[in-house]
């Protein structure tokens, strides 16, 4: 079936089965490979994208239910919050293997958009769906706080 998807500000045509998860359409059909596959069952957050600004797990969203939404991937994030988050991530040297980090950043941007100065508990709450096997969590927390400071400044 042919679907029209609104991704990163563009309208794109995709030919796919209606039940195909958005993740695989992004990765295999549209070559937006910044969004990662980690578990396929909403347990790791590597596939996190924004649907109308809200972080969701693209591995568990059939493409047919994403057609009316604005989809944003790591390749398409921009603006003050996104910049602050990416900048903070670099300053804190958060990444190790990096494979989870697109998803981490998408969740962090989602959090800070709603809550520019989260406390530890709120950070843990918003980020608990994102697994990092390299265990960079300690720096993720730090970087979110740094990004929050940047936004307040």
């Amino acid at each position: 079936m042919l679907f029209k998807l609104k991704i990163n500000g563009n309208v794109l045509d995709v030919e796919a089965e209606p039940q195909t998860p958005l993740l695989w359409v992004l990765r295999d059909d549209l070559d937006l490979t910044g969004t990662k596959f980690g578990c396929g069952i909403s347990s790791c957050g590597a596939c996190t994208v924004h649907l109308n600004g809200t972080p969701v797990r693209s591995c568990s969203i059939p493409i047919e239910s994403a057609i009316d939404s604005e989809i944003t991937t790591i390749e398409g994030i921009q603006g003050k919050v996104a910049n602050a988050v990416q900048q903070a991530w670099r300053e804190k040297n958060v990444v190790q293997c990096g494979y989870c980090q697109s998803g981490q950043i998408m969740s962090a941007v989602g959090l800070l958009k709603n809550n520019p100065s989260p406390n530890n508990q709120e950070i843990d709450g918003a980020m608990s769906g994102n697994v990092c096997r390299c265990a960079t969590y300690f720096r993720i927390r730090d970087a979110i706080k740094l990004a929050s400071q940047k936004l307040e400044a």
Binding site: T20, G38, G40, A46, V131, R133, A135, Y137
Partner: protein
């Protein structure tokens, strides 16, 4: 890195996104843009704009080695750090071998150690060429030229490396360029260097195997026996054929499973689910975990091998007559579960094949796949890209067990003309074996009336990692696989009358090194036991350990130093309700103080204080990151992870049953790096072993309960 820069540009330039990304071609495109690239030596390339490209012989799986190798080279070169780029080396053992091993691979937390002099010398050689080129042009003596940040100066004359690149090519490189003394280091030991992979890994442009697509590529995935050691009897593809995108299904020649081929990753995974299979389990593992545990218990009664024999004449009294304590420890099988499920791509080239892979062992891939494909190793090209974690899983002591070998088989079965991407899903990862082996320790310690240790009887039953592999001849001596007993048999503590016995647990469950290997269980047992001795004798746990270290031995002296620094830095006091553990592995000394709080059986790990001596600290922030990450990786396994079996079948399947550490579990971490001028040693693995026992000892201090069985949730605790 070039390919990532190019991909980034590629994405920015393409308004729409429905185009294929082809790595390899892109990077050539960049190279062609009116720059002359000059190869100085196998480790560095320079261009006229002054960019220095360091060629990394080790793969980057998060451990920070691309930054590390760049640091070593740029240090001696006095290059401008902002202009240093990193690229991964091709498979070429002659140029890029691990200097300790003689072939090209990464592991044993030795990447910095084996490259320390090599990459520095390469940098010094490049700098020397630059200086000589400038001295010739300017008509000044070489020692008059001052170099800083890629700029050379003498008097009012000033020029950048880039300006002298073409002149330098005509000079003969010096064989023994002078290296800096440690007091001259500017980058080595610098706290503020940023990681070279920061940018690509925060904007989605870093390319992993999973992201590679080459023209005409098909996606393959494997259906394996639900029990290890089973072989395929028959399969029925009729339902699978109805999955959109299905291409083919082929059986492995040795019947280990069926490879399905499909048009994309999702179809490959769906096809696998639709495939009906029947298996022959006559040689398969059919025990449940509880049976395996009791088998290990029996094995430990009568050790098969004696890695450290008991010298009877040292001791007059048998252990049972002494004031003694006994403990049995159990450690489960563990999956590595790197964040990026295993995968790699293999495509035909004019002359052979090419792999795209986060490649930990390029030489192994050449050996294994050349054998499978009937080619010479040189005909196998390896394009190394970022790896989404490994923790040991991406390498193997038996090259035939490398996942790239399976990709070569999948490629061969399809006729050797079609590029194949072989992909694991998370279920394959968790159920696919190559685990940290289960281990059982049976221990008995004899004390005299004053609490002095008189006898230490330690028996281990575990499956050997090396036996039956290419490593057997190097690592198995008198029946003892060093991986089974490391960290125990060679403990730094002076334990009188220590004996270590070993029995091999036999099973078709494949096992593998897992971040920290044998130390992951031996350190837990050793450091828990010392805590038990301290508790029994009323001694302070750190004092007890210091008493067991001999200051005349350099290693023991360094360990004692780390213990003392840890005590001071963490504010440790005798009798405080905290946990302490220390361990020596990969030539590195690590001590951990753990602070936990508990309400009944609900425990939270508040803070870890980690002290490390890893010789010259090349990249302090990377070292810190590895201490944090290693502690977190160990902790995740320690708290909740186990691979268990029900009648031979793995009971876990994905992150809903093999529960990973999450952000709320992560304690605060303070890392203290001991200043040292000793040769740099490992940092990727050494924080894993002591973290577990430090936390266990802290839980004992706070709750009075000793955890002997892992994961800790099996001992009735919950982590909040």
């Amino acid at each position: 890195m070039e390919k990532n820069i190019s991909r980034r540009r590629f994405l920015k330039n393409s308004a729409a996104t429905s185009v294929s990304l082809i790595i390899g071609l892109n990077s050539k495109g960049i190279l062609a843009t009116n720059k002359t690239n000059t190869v100085i030596n196998p480790f560095v390339r320079m261009d006229q704009e002054g960019f220095v490209t360091v060629i990394a012989k080790h793969f980057e799986n998060g451990q920070g080695i691309s930054t590390g190798l760049a640091t070593l080279l740029a240090e001696e070169m006095d290059a401008d750090w902002e202009k240093v780029k990193v690229e991964f080396a091709p498979a070429n053992a002659e140029q890029y071998k691990h200097t300790f091993w003689g072939y090209q691979a990464t592991g044993n937390s030795e990447s910095i150690a084996n490259s320390f002099m090599q990459y520095r010398a390469a940098g010094a050689m490049a700098k020397d060429l630059m200086i000589r080129a400038a001295s010739k042009k300017w008509g000044v003596k070489t020692d008059e030229i001052d170099v800083q940040n890629g700029i050379m100066r003498v008097g009012t004359k000033k020029g950048s490396f880039g300006e002298f690149v073409t002149d330098a090519v005509n000079l003969t490189p010096s064989k023994n360029p002078k290296l800096k003394t440690p007091d001259q280091f500017k980058l080595i030991g610098n706290q503020d260097l940023s990681r070279k992979d920061n940018e690509a890994k925060t904007d989605g442009s870093a390319i992993y195997g999973m992201d590679v697509k080459v023209p005409g590529m098909v996606y393959a995935s494997v259906v394996r026996s639900p029990r290890f050691g089973g072989t395929l009897k028959s399969f029925d593809v009729s339902k699978a054929k109805r999955v959109p995108g299905f291409i083919e299904a082929k059986v492995f020649p040795d019947k280990r499973g069926v490879i399905v081929y499909a048009k994309n990753t999702w179809s490959a995974f769906q096809t696998k689910k639709a495939l009906l299979t029947k298996w022959d389990f006559s040689n398969a593992e059919s025990r449940s975990t509880s049976d395996m545990v009791s088998d290990c218990q029996k094995l430990a009664e009568n050790p098969e091998f004696e890695p450290r024999p008991f010298k009877t004449d040292d001791d007059k009294q048998p252990v049972k007559d002494l004031n003694h304590l006994e403990a049995e420890f159990f450690f489960p099988f563990l999956a590595h579960s790197p964040m990026e499920p295993l995968n790699c791509i293999i495509e035909p080239t004019k002359n052979g094949v090419r792999f795209y892979d986060g490649c930990q062992n390029p030489s192994g891939v050449q050996w294994a796949s050349s054998y499978i494909l009937g080619l010479q190793p040189q005909q196998i090209e390896v394009k190394t890209i970022y790896a989404g974690g490994s923790f040991g899983r991406r390498n193997s002591p038996a090259v035939k067990d490398l996942y790239q070998a399976e990709a070569a088989i999948a490629f061969a079965l399809l006729g050797k003309k079609t590029p194949v991407k072989l992909v694991w899903d998370r279920e394959d990862d968790i159920r696919g074996g190559y685990y940290r082996p289960m281990a059982f320790h049976k221990t008995k310690i004899g004390l005299d009336a004053k609490g002095k240790i008189l006898r230490w009887d330690h028996r281990i039953a575990t499956k050997s990692i090396s036996k039956g592999t290419d490593f057997e001849k190097f690592l198995v001596h008198n029946g003892v696989d060093h991986f089974s007993v490391e960290g125990c048999v060679d403990t730094l503590y002076q334990l009188p009358n220590m004996s270590v016995g070993l029995s091999d647990f036999k099973s078709s469950i494949p096992v593998l090194w897992w971040r920290g290997v044998g130390h992951t269980h031996t350190a837990y047992a050793m450091e828990s036991l010392l805590d038990m001795v301290a508790q029994r004798t009323g001694k302070d746990p750190i004092e007890l350990r210091l008493d067991l270290l001999n200051s005349n031995d350099l290693k023991q002296q360094r360990m004692a130093h780390v213990l003392k620094i840890s005590r001071r830095r963490s504010g440790w006091k005798k009798g405080n309700k905290r946990g302490f553990a220390a361990h020596y592995s990969y030539k590195t000394f690590v001590a951990v103080v753990a602070d936990v709080s508990a309400t009944g059986k609900q425990v939270h790990i508040d803070k870890l204080h980690i002290t490390v001596d890893c010789g010259v600290p090349v990249n302090p922030d990377v070292i810190r990151a590895q201490m944090e990450g290693g502690a977190g990786y160990g902790l995740g396994a320690l708290l909740r992870n186990e691979i268990t079996f029900a009648k031979g079948q793995v009971e876990q399947s994905n992150f809903d049953t093999y529960l990973p550490l999450r952000i709320s579990d992560m304690p605060e971490i303070d890392v203290e790096i001991v200043m040292s001028n000793e040769t740099p040693s490992g940092v990727g693995e050494p924080s894993v072993p002591p973290t577990g026992p430090a936390v266990a000892n802290a839980i004992f201090a706070v709750t009075g309960k000793r955890i002997l069985e892992l994961p800790m949730t099996q001992s009735g605790f919950q982590f909040v």
